[in-house]
Symmetry: C2
Subunit: 629 residues, 2 copies
């Protein structure tokens, strides 16, 4: 089972390379495609239906969840199907998770039927009578009167109209013979265009991550996602983590301006790319929404995040911010707007608000726990009555920081490790020779070694002569005493790497992982304690974000990164931050909910939580055994 196979996913046309024997469900996750699964891939809900177009596979027990028609068409449950050759898989629209729930227009409003389409900026076409000596209304009032008629539902008011709209108005309104399109926001006029342009109304939802920036182009007339594009956040060149960037923004000449310019340049590149692939003009984009951590929001807005990094860690603003695109230099329609999501605290940002919104945690009757591991790890727990959140500096280890051969999940990174059948099998991103390991493989490696007893419950990587009896030879021979790194496990021999050196998992890596997972687990304990609940009360653990999405839950539980709950109660929710940004782009009404979430969610500062240090020390140990799985 150590062969790699290529899986092509339709209709996207995306291809991923996975180890033979990987489930289709997992392969889709690696491709960043999230599908429905009530049970989180445990094989018991029957939601994750996909169609195998081409290729060989082993599946068991799908039949009871499928109709005869479906079986004839090649439909299987993704989680019950293991891939044994190159494969083409088609995902039917009904199996899409957030895609279906968020992006389809015209679904009736209501908690379970998706997001009703109500973008903040709307258009209405007007064709006022041209002026005459018996009708000398000025241009603005003439247009506004017509807009009030053609858009009677919204109640067009004569709110202050931006000066630049007025300056352009006399020519704009006459250019196409008194045919024009009025842009409305909150009942006020924010722009006027010549002719009828109502068929062109686009927006972009941005997830501005510390590492990656993703933009989703949505057609605001239909709610459909038209294109997606992403870039590495160019601020990365001034520091991998937020703290380094905060220091750069404050200490260097113009540091803040440099970082703001970089992120806005990146956003403008993404806008250009999105417009290009959709065959539209950037001027047809009227609004962008952004989500991200509090530091990313501050830098994007050009507000110094300096005091976020100094005790007591406060930001300049918590509420949503709605500047004009032109104020920030965002290259969309000249009358366009920006909506920056509200945040919760200095280290629990708009991305967490988005997770709460998209997962509907704030409407839940039962207590749920959401965890978003990016460069930081934000944890939130609660239900419709109460929400508590905290932040842990958990991410860097899982993004490769401070790990001996650690690296981000990019080309050449080992992303999966399996110790079985007498050999160490690894899967590498991009099919090239491995050059390092990323977070998911770090968890795999430690979990596999822990399972074999090579790592003890205190996190000690045992020396060769201390290994438990029965340790397989192929494992034993890879435990070495490295002259620099001391006790280490050889994941890949030097002959098989892209660097010419062996790729190791070292004692230090285990310790770093213990710190990271200990912080997360301790945060989880503190949140439970704050709410006065126990594991049994936590209905579900929701894994958000790219990293959460790639985690193998069994392994994560084995090392104690995730609480020891049954797998069906641990659910992937994909890029929930991005989903939240899309929802707020499609629905103005949900922005009130976002503000409510921002205000309602209590932030627990772990640094001042009296129990945290003790919890943290306890949480660094590895579990002795697993109760479920």
């Amino acid at each position: 089972m150590n062969q790699r196979v290529r899986v092509t996913i339709q209709p996207e046309g995306k291809t991923v390379s996975v180890l033979e024997g990987t489930s289709v469900y997992e392969a889709l996750g690696e491709a960043g495609i999230i599908i429905k699964s009530e049970c989180g891939g445990s094989g018991v809900c029957g939601s994750c239906k996909v169609r195998i177009v081409e290729g060989e596979y082993v599946q068991e027990g799908s039949e009871r969840y499928l109709t005869r028609d479906e079986i004839e068409r090649g439909t299987v449950l993704a989680c019950r199907t293991r891939i044994t050759s190159d494969m083409k898989v088609e995902i039917p629209v009904e199996s899409r998770l957030f895609e279906q729930k968020i992006l389809t227009a015209g679904i009736a409003a209501g908690p379970d039927s998706g997001v009703s389409l109500s973008p903040a900026i709307r258009k209405t076409a007007v064709e006022p009578p041209s002026p005459s000596l018996s009708d000398q209304r000025p241009d603005l009032e003439r247009v506004a009167d017509s807009a009030a008629v053609s858009d009677s539902a919204s109640g067009v008011e004569l709110k202050p109209v931006p000066l630049e709209v007025l300056q352009a108005l006399p020519e704009t309104i006459r250019q196409d013979g008194w045919k024009a399109t009025v842009l409305l926001k909150d009942g006020g006029i924010i722009g006027i265009e010549s002719g009828d342009t109502t068929d062109r109304l686009y927006g972009v939802a941005f997830d501005i991550g510390t590492t990656t920036v993703v933009g989703y182009l949505l057609d605001l007339n239909t709610g459909r996602e038209v294109a997606v594009a992403s870039r590495t956040n160019p601020q990365t060149s001034y520091g991998d983590d937020v703290i380094t960037r905060i220091h750069f923004s404050g200490s260097k000449e113009n540091g803040l301006k440099v970082l703001q310019k970089l992120i806005i340049g990146c956003i403008n590149e993404i806008i250009e790319e999105l417009a290009g692939s959709a065959g539209i003009e950037p001027a047809h984009i009227y609004e962008i929404t952004t989500t991200g951590n509090t530091t990313m929001s501050h830098l994007f807005l050009g507000i110094s995040p300096k005091y976020l990094a100094l005790n007591p860690y406060v930001g300049a603003i918590k509420s949503a911010c709605e500047p004009a695109a032109r104020e920030l230099g965002v290259g969309i329609n000249p009358y366009g707007r920006v909506y920056v999501m509200p945040n919760i605290a200095g280290f629990v940002g708009g991305d967490t608000v988005a997770v709460i919104l998209a997962s509907e945690l704030y409407k839940s009757d039962e207590v749920r726990f959401a965890i978003d591991i990016g460069t930081n790890g934000e944890l939130v727990m609660g239900n419709k009555d109460r929400l508590v959140a905290c932040s842990t500096a958990a991410g860097p280890a899982f993004e490769g920081a401070r790990i001996t051969h650690g690296m981000r999940a990019s080309d050449g990174a080992i992303e999966k490790i399996v110790l079985s059948d007498g050999e160490v099998s690894v899967n590498t991103i991009g099919d090239s020779l491995p050059i390092g390991i990323c977070g998911t493989a770090l968890i795999d490696g430690i979990a596999e070694l822990r399972k074999l007893g090579v790592i003890d419950e205190r996190g000690k990587l045992l020396k060769e002569d201390g290994l438990p009896e029965g340790t397989p030879d192929f494992v034993r021979k890879r435990v070495i005493d490295h002259e620099t790194y001391k006790t280490s496990f050889v994941l890949v021999e030097k002959e098989k790497t892209g660097t010419g050196s062996p790729i190791l998992l070292t004692q230090k890596d285990v310790r770093e992982t213990q710190l990271a997972k200990g912080a997360i687990l301790a945060g989880y304990e503190i949140l439970k304690e704050t709410l006065g609940v126990s594991d049994g009360d936590v209905k579900e653990v929701l894994l958000a974000g790219a990293f959460g999405n790639y985690i193998r839950r069994e392994q994560a539980k084995r090392i104690g990164l995730l609480p020891d709950l049954p797998l069906e109660r641990i659910r992937f929710i994909g890029n929930a931050a991005g989903s939240g940004a899309k929802m707020l782009l499609l629905s103005q009404n949900l922005r009130k909910e976002a503000t409510l979430i921002s205000n309602r969610t209590e932030y627990i500062e772990l640094a001042v939580s009296p129990d945290f240090q003790k919890r943290f020390a306890d949480a660094m140990f590895f579990p002795l055994s697993l109760k479920n799985g």
Copy 2:
């Protein structure tokens, strides 16, 4: 009575030169100082009390309006006192008209007790607790919470805060150890400053005339006027009248930008001067209000007025406009705002709204008629139930345009003409030799010649051989047949002018005046007809604006420029446009009234009024005789 005397007015220290025998009331008018007078200077109300500090005078009948104390202190009624030597006059504060009514703070609100002080931008000092680990509210929310406490009456909301405020916030709030001042407008935060700056809150009301720009600096904490400054509108170099400027704005490269830059430069100069004379910084000025005709407003805002000059003469905007000062480049506080008054129609602007507001025409039980003769003549008639307005191209003649030796009311202009005691007496502005005549003298000259029958009721300036019997010799000998101008009256012989040529009043001048006064009178007739009222129903004629303020009512009636109503029903109301701008600077509440006036006032386009041409032809004749006077 042909000697000139100098009158010094205290406490202003202004000096004017007038003909001996002029009333104190009239002299004050020439100095631009408006005092109380219910009867319009007819000697019957006893309001226009002034104190003669120095100099000789003849007065009759003041006593019955004065107390013994007042008489002992030298108090007289200005309208009943004629000046017979150089004089010093003091105006007690209780005799001030708009000054007293508008600028005194703290007067209880109500229609008869002045304007209550409620500026649009307010300040509140805050001193929030500094952040700690147990209070991690972000800067903005921390400040807003404190502002809501210290300013509970206004209900501070978390409306969108301007981006530049947020960008400056982290440093601003820490600069003076968490002491700050919040700027509030409409309940939202529009600015935050370090320290307690609540004692510095100023505003400037601007009257942007086609010819003259006046700025009034007001202390918005007390309502007091602190300084006044004026400039010639520098756009004058691109045309004396609005039509020429409109053409320039449209036809030349960047014409609009050139004119906008000129007026904003002028306003900034006035701001600098005002701040200098008051000993404050321009940054202590937080708002300016502007009034002016529709073209001036468009040019100030950088909106093309092109279509105002083309049939059917419509502007781009009628409603009030409230841009940020920074958007226009107005040099006040960086968070400052601009309020541009709403207008009524293309040629009835915010200045007319201001006249209606300041004169309280819109609250009047009885019908009143207000007339503002500047470069154009705007007429408005009505009461609390209905208001109608029209515009006439009446002004240019009275500003010297198209008059043979016409000129503006500036140094060297003859401003008064008296034919009596066997000679022609003229008064010249600035005590220099005369070089031309301005509007008031044009009216005087024609009225005096009409009284003697030298001009007949059809406007014919009779030739020497056609003059009525009994025409005095000193008049007869001045009627000449000029080789260029034909029949003319020599006002000043060439030996006594500053030009070396005689200053003439020509047949053409009489015709131009007939056109101008005919237009105004016809407008008056049309307004009466629209409202269905007669002269007897018109309770008062209110004369606004600089020119209206200098007119001698008896002479204006004689030529039929003003309707033939008793003098006590013709009242000067001074620079009512400027007064309106001040009122709106002091009182946010009155801005709603201004909008109401703008929307309620019906505009009559004389060009399409079926009766206008006939009325106009009739109105060009001079009255045969006067019923009252």
